[in-house]
Amino acid sequence: MPATFKSLLQWLAYTGLVVLAGGAMLLGKADALLVERLRLQVNDAVVPILSVLSKPVDAMAGGIESAQHLLRVAEENARLREERDRLLRWQVAAQRLEAENAALRQLLNFVPGPEATFRSARVVADPTGAFAHSLLVNAGSRNGIDKGHIVVTSDGLVGRIVGVSQRAARVLLITDLNSRVPVFVGAGRVRAVLAGDNGDRPKLIHVVQQGKISTGDVVVSSGVAGGFPSGLPVGVVADVGDGGITVQPLVDRTRLEYVRVADYGITSLLNDPPTVSRGGRAPLPDGEQDRVRADAR
């Protein structure tokens, strides 16, 4: 019976492939490093193609944007004037605070934190869909980028480098399910952890004083536990409700074209064990993980 034999073979083939796919998932869980290395090898091969492809798209998007700006040039001008006046007032305030800060630091013999070095990179892949929140940039280990470096734009924090190959690096966005950023909220500097959930607005968890947070409060990284430097602007509290406190990130992911990759000299903390393995089991925030590791030492 060749027909039944053929369909039996077909079923066997399908079952085999599905089992193989399941095996790949298990392997990703069991040996995250191996799978990450495979991923990076493939990314390395595809990044040149994506680099070429994304250029005309970026140019097109830029063209559309400048056309839109031309249409609203008067309106935009008025807005900018207003903003400039406001910023000038801030500049005066900032200069005064800067002077005061310097004087106080001198008074206290304050030891400043390490200076960051920056490298620019272009975003070449921004996968659509709600399953994953990561980016690929077209700079890798040969450009001096390493795991644990912080990715920022002029708006604020974008995420963190979780994997590097020769010419590409993967950025885990702060909205990803696996992202945890220790933060301060508002003027009261309430300690919390910003946890992504693959939605547009990450949530605040482990909030120390819940009642002190209100809508519109600014969220900045706290630098607690050393995964991120302190003082990077992250977002604004968007909603305080029964469903938790959500934060609107300052960086609009869909408009990202160039990012800056900052080395704050905190990679060594992250590099020993595979801390940020994709889908790593530990639901502990980064801060907790680092604390646990510090305790272990």
């Binding site: 392997l27 892949a125 921004d126 869909g129 709600a130 399953f131």
Partner: protein, 171 residues
């Protein structure tokens, strides 16, 4: 008469059209398009292409090729390795087993069939990714993605049909 080398190369290139089209659609899903409204709910274009080619040219798209495409998608999109591979292979299996049902049916019926397959596939991917991360991923964006994928089917179907009619007429 034995076909010349060029002739054979040409045929081979044409036979690769389904696989290449899936790869290109995958790249479209990854290149930053700067369209904020579409981002989280962008249609799963490779899913549509796998459905289309399995239905109309199953001889040119073996299950192994679909599996490989799925693995590549997992790597490019940063998904857990194996999720898309499993999803696309099951789509291939669903279409192959129901091939006789789809044969000669009107476009509306096939579209309905695609809707069921796509909804099932994305639900499965959602479950698998949630299980992998041991937390529930918000389902609303994925439900919207299923809707945009179903809505995009006729457009992409037309494009692939043009592609099939011009490139694969004699293959």
């Amino acid at each position: 008469m034995k076909p010349t080398l060029w002739r054979r190369l040409d045929t081979l290139a044409r036979q690769l059209v389904p696989s290449v089209s899936i790869f290109l659609l995958m790249l479209i899903g990854v290149v930053p398009l700067h369209i904020p409204a579409l981002h989280a709910v962008a249609p799963a274009l490779p899913l549509i292409a796998v459905f289309y080619w399995t239905l109309y040219r199953p001889d040119l798209l073996p299950a192994v090729a679909v599996f490989a495409a799925g693995l590549l998608q997992d790597i490019l999109f940063g998904l857990p390795l194996g999720v898309s591979a499993c999803m696309l292979v099951l789509v291939h299996a669903a279409v192959t087993t129901q091939h006789r049902f789809f044969l000669g049916k009107s476009f509306g019926i096939i579209w309905l069939g695609f809707s069921l397959v796509a909804a099932g596939a994305l639900t499965l991917a959602w479950l698998a990714t949630s299980a992998y991360n041991a937390t529930l991923i918000p389902a609303d964006a994925i439900a919207f993605q299923a809707l945009t994928t179903i809505g995009f089917y006729p457009i992409l179907c037309w494009l692939l049909l043009r592609c099939q009619a011009t490139l694969l007429r004699q293959v």
